[in-house]
Symmetry: C2
Subunit: 76 residues, 2 copies
């Protein structure tokens, strides 16, 4: 859930992930593919009202569904 | 391909999309779901070296594949 820091840091950005289903609160989602500094894809959602950034669990089915929905041109 | 502006603007962010397959150059991808100010999902890629932001075509199969790859925990 928490973000270690923003920008280009040579490590993973997330130190944990949000488990609640916050799909309706999401304004945008950023995907960071695996890279030499972080072995797993990281997904960071920005919330609508607060602009808070929240790390999501790529293995959670509801997270996969939200990305599929957005890629199908639908709101999450 | 071009970006109209950054931040929370009450309109679409992209005025065109990149048609070249630039998957290998992508550092991260941001997804903006449809909203009252922009009826279609927008996808903006940030490039590795230049940090340039490029709008991608959500209907392009290579773009869909890149997002699927990242969501499968693989580099694009």
């Amino acid at each position: 859930m928490s973000l270690r820091g923003l920008g280009v840091e040579p490590r993973c950005r997330c130190s944990g992930t949000e488990h609640r289903r916050i799909g309706k609160l999401i304004e945008s989602i950023e995907l960071f593919p695996p890279n030499p500094h972080c072995k797993d894809t990281e997904i960071i959602a920005t919330l609508k009202s607060t602009r808070q950034e929240i790390c999501l669990d790529i293995t959670a089915p509801w997270v996969q569904k939200i990305v599929e929905k957005i890629m199908a041109n639908k709101a999450p």
